[in-house]
Assembly symmetry: D4
Homo-oligomer: 250 residues x 8
């Protein structure tokens, strides 16, 4: 689209319909929509693997409704992360079509589910890591990937993990969400040749320092093939997994 | 192989060639080679995307020679990272076949180059980040990937980066090595839909705290599709990129 | 004024109206007003570029009213930052003349607007950074500067920023408020020769550590001409910008 | 220059000398010079207030000579920071014209001194902070500003500072370099209405943590109008000061 | 049990009752119970010194009830840590048999008290450390150890501690819970030859940084024979003490 | 008293009233009172400069009442710090004699005021530091010292401080409570030869990190004669000041 | 011995041989030997599980010789840790009897080996962790324990570890030395019911922060029964293991 | 002197010898001597308890000689801290009168020893802390105080400390230098009513983080009457002790 518009502009210059000075003004500008408090970026799906995702924390329900509505005009599937029940309930009054996953804390619209481009194993060390994993899993499903949930297989009971090695290796990408010491990422990384996306969670006693311990552990993984995203950032893990699944697409 | 050996053991149990108690002893053991000071892991190529890579720092030249020799018995291509010139020169006396890249600080053997499974763009913010990028690029080439080097395109002169967008988008995976504030990872992440592997480097003034500033910046990237590896860990970035390129392989 | 008073004292010494010992006592003392719980510093406008600004957090509404009233006796324009709605409502009962910006969390009086000495571009990476930016923008307007708001132009969608380069370059000073990885400060710094005041915000996922990631990033900016103020300190950015605009004033 | 080239390209498109597709290719590219290991950015003086400055640390003397030579082709005044005596001596063999300040650790060429656009007071708390201050002062002089050096006026002997208040206020901008607790930035900030650029230095006992204590202190300055740059970054302070002096220039 | 089951499987293979492929499937799997949101690990008592302990924080009362019920089917004694009064009250409705210690914040069932395998001295520096110590002491009693409570004997009044040296030395293991500067661990370590388990608590003024000061102090103990567990982790200390008491058991 | 008791024991040994073994038992024991949840240390006034002070945070009103009552049996003056209004109101029902300072958050009994042994200047940088200063000042008055309050004299308006230099120098000890960058401690330290006790407060914007910035600044004071206590620890400053005032007492 | 001396003193008091005042003086004093620069603590073996161990770092060879000689007068087995080859060679000239392990960096005398009280498994994740493990293993052997070395069994190749589970479970105590992400401690902790002593090592890339990542990981171990000692502190691990082995000794 | 000079100036104004404008210029200036690279502060002894002390680290021998010579013109006793042997040897050639303590790393001149104003106990936990303690002790002796050295009495062998309680209590002030966990400061603080100056040292294993562990421990001392100075800052402790000894002097 952008490319087309650029060509159109240059054609107008060539044909004299557009002055050179005016073209100079336009040429460094790509289109987006101005909403006042935010600039919606409809082209993101071109540069990214999914339309813009709304991060709901710190936005008012009114702002969220406006953003979602605008997105919904141009996209079949729309995601808002970090949405509390209260936000969902207010948004649902303005947008009855909206759905909600309280575990993943995601509001979403899914008019035409995308075909799954591949499978992602989403693994957690414990039960407390599940909300982060669910944020990843639901995002993946909305972005067109199959999410294989394998929860509560932390290294304190290694046999629980070893039992799922086959399932893990049948996925193209692996997401590991773990708090405390975050050892699961290294252990999984040592058991599979698949790319592992490690998500530290803020689960743990005092010296976990809200996920810092797991974060450092994952960055220092002795197993190779591990990339790390931000603490509790399930969406970020899903977006990276989707990018990897799309790698062989032009 | 493992699977076969397991079947063979079970068959021996079945046929009575192997006692049950002995089988119990064997069954949790997978094969590796004991060298005394280290345990070489020949099966890693099965679980991983490349044979074991030797991390030379903190090992004596004698240890490195022994490890490389053993690896070379079973593998055509062998890598040792973080090797100083002094280590190279001593290793070369025992292993004349060995090659060395002083910039990447890698010693390696490449008897039969692997065909490139895909292309990885390796980008640096500045000149000082090049050694880390070269570690990544050379590892990629030895692991069977094409490395497209794009160096010194930091965000202080954005046009240098914008000039290479097409090159970047023609790769399947993007590696960004940057120190200081590490902003390049976010900017590249915002310009491509490819998975971006961010490598913070320890380049910078005092408050970079040996790469911590870039590390935190990359973990907090506002662009999605970014995974982070350890500070100055060019090899780790290459290994993750290779895993991603192999995603669609069974 | 101080200078005059010092001369008057010395003249009184010369004329014998003031004893030498008494003069010794007085001479290290500059005038301020004692309020018991605080010492109002009416001369600050001489040493600073604006009368004292009240930081409302941690003060009672009564204290704030007293301070504002005293300031209002000698100044046309008065500012109180970090004021919640509750504080505003209580203060408004005692000082009906007071105005409030809920977004900027500022209470203020503006009897005779100051003429704008110059223009400051106030830029944010995202919507969540807007409150900090509004604190800066409103302070600037009250201090006699034009604030050009350019919001939600983070580096994940670079074209949004590139579209405003001309606006940015038409300002004399640029303020950039950004959380997460704070990359916008470096990118803007690379695109303009204007002094850039970077304000890290506490917006972000876990590993932003309440603004630490953005703070470190901004201090390590690879672009030159960037000065950093405290996390979320919109007022501090405005005060520095006002000082810069007044640079060529005697 | 850029602007002109853009116009020329568009004119060629208009006149049919340049095909539309070729123009698309060119249009996002601004000119720079490819040196292999680095990309020299000759247009920086347009976007910045001085040609590109070479950061010598981590570069070989050969690289530095090449970079300086290329810069010297297009610029009268050239700066390389963080240059050791050894680097200077090797560079001087290839570039006899080069000058060196061992205190500021700067190599430079100054063929036609720029007229001073204003005066910057460069203040240090102690003698150990002088190298950082000299880096700032010499950069300023090469960038076309007068540097008023006021050294060793730390707050432990306040009268030394108070004696220079007039000098400080006669400058347009103030740079304060201080290690240990960095209190001088706040005290100077409280005594002048000029913008204060605070440079934390790595000078101090153990709990200064290589400049962290001074850095945090300066960011938390209770005086307004203070912007902070990186630890020991004298050049960064000079570049910001130069940008401020150029504020009223178009 | 595991061992037996393994033998049984192998015997079935030998006798032909079990196919080789099926055995392969089973052999890396140890039994656990799938509850959907969690995987109960009934064999933990074989690998550990006590059945799985439920960490109640972040789990719903329903989840806790389900987990406790399942555990109670196979175990006489069951522990849930970090349980608030609210959680207890809800759990008690579903599981009337459950008991609660509000000080230790533990819910538990103790159908057949285990005989004490040894004695553990549980010491606190102050009154505020008692909840952590009680978590340890009650867990110990449920795990089959005698807990000798010695509270409020911090080093500010050394005679209080010296008075209990005999009691301390009569225990086999010593647990020390201390916040603030955590010095008690070192002092006790210097007075006894028993292994000392140090538990930093989050008690203290600002610069204790929620237990970090005590944690670092305990890790740096100048007395030998001290092992450290996580901040406020009374249960962890008890589990380590129980493991030590069981050391001479086969 | 202790000394006397020791002599008495030895006399009993000498006279045969006490067996040697029993004496061995007793001899390492100094007297204190066992309250179950705490061990009251009545001899502290011998080793310390004031009877034990109750830190109320984290104790129940019942515990506080018991502790205060026991202390009140043997002491005329009793202090409880960090007491909320709610705690005061409950304690006052059991102990009507108790007094309360809401600003200092102290509950206390003062039956026979101690004569002041000297004067301590208690200085704050801002209004928000006053609660910490009041904790120090009231403790000092109860411990037998005169507190000279000098509030809101931060370095942003240096003349306010310079005006009080004489007052400061007339004290024997100086306490400085400051948040933000904590520069006041260094400046006061440079202006007086009296020992300065620096109390960092948790007042400040984000990068103050709850008092860390001020803490580090005060530890790195370029002025000599400065000792630092914990963040917000007004009582600790008072106790150290009292110890200094008692220095020349035997 | 102490006990006897105390009785002797009391007997002398009883018999009148010792005045009461003199006894008071003596009674709080336990015997040690004054060497001027250090106080040798010959009774430590009574309170500890081994005579005092000399930490050689920061001591001169002369000091070390003196300390070792004095220790050797009263003890058969003597240990000095953190001794470089240079220190060893100088010490050996004064003390030819001394032995040296360059890997463990320990100098020692072992005149009459102690019988092994039990077995300790000493495990490392990688080859680079071996020096720390050797410090632990050799200390254990000198302290009277059997050290079962199991090296290079990190979690990246889990089968290497699983192969040694039986060996590990046959020990009474397990020491795990690991750098990088330190996951091995948790995995081992999950596979054994033995007490696990975790030693973080300073091995790793940048974000290991010299062992901080492994330290935090081990403190946050999701497996129970894990106690942590200081970074690289092999001796500390051995001392704790020895204390545990001696638990059931009176 | 200052006071006199101020009076003289005012008298000159009164008598007309000095113009009012000239007096204005002079009046905020207190005398010091300009040396170019430093400003010697001869009046410091008036505001401080000793003439300016030269911190030698980072100064050239020439600068140190110049500074010492100037100081020696006006003072009988002169101190330079942090002086290496090399610095001493070079300084001694220019200033043969100079003396050196290699342990304390102090160069000094002591023409007329000051009478001791009191006694300070200087205590260390271990032998490695002695250099810091010696810096304090020698400074004290040069400043006119008796230093009672009590070394190697760390809490791992408490009896060594208890033996010196009387000596400690006979001093007016106590300095405690300790690394590792720094517990000695709290224990000493609990045993004496004297003010305790705690000096954390950088002695310790990895998790001491160069003195941070001891620093935090000392700031969190559960004993009252403890003030903390910077890591390894023996001079700072001496200066604070000297200020305390001078407290009752006018």
């Amino acid at each position: 689209m952008n490319e087309e518009r650029l060509q159109r502009i240059l054609e107008q210059v060539k044909s004299g319909l557009l002055g050179i000075e005016d073209a100079c003004q336009i040429l460094r500008v790509l289109p987006y929509e101005e909403l006042g408090f935010a600039k919606l970026d409809h082209q993101r799906a071109l540069r990214d693997n999914f339309p813009e995702v709304i991060y709901c924390e710190g936005k008012t329900p009114e702002q969220i409704i406006t953003l979602l509505r605008q997105l919904a005009l141009h996209n079949d599937n729309v995601i808002g992360t970090r949405a509390s029940v209260e936000v969902y309930e207010q948004v649902a009054q303005g947008l009855p079509e909206i759905q909600y996953s309280p575990l993943a804390r995601i509001i979403y619209m899914q008019r035409s589910p995308l075909p799954a481009r591949g499978r992602v194993a989403v693994i957690t060390a414990g039960t407390a890591d599940v909300p982060v994993a669910e944020e990843a899993a639901l995002c993946l499903e909305l972005m067109g990937a199959e999410a294989q949930r394998i929860y509560d297989v932390g290294v304190a009971g290694l046999h629980r993990l070893l039992d799922h090695i086959d399932q893990i290796n049948q996925a193209q990408v692996v997401i590991v969400a773990a708090g405390m010491e975050g050892a699961l990422a290294s252990v999984v990384g040592g058991l599979t040749k698949r790319p592992v996306i490690a998500v530290p969670t803020s689960v743990g006693y005092g010296a976990s320092f809200q996920g810092l311990a797991a974060l450092l552990a994952m960055l220092n993984s002795c197993a190779s093939g591990v990339g790390v995203v931000n603490i509790d950032n399930g969406y970020g893990a899903a977006a990276l997994a989707a990018a990897i699944l799309n790698t062989h697409k032009k």
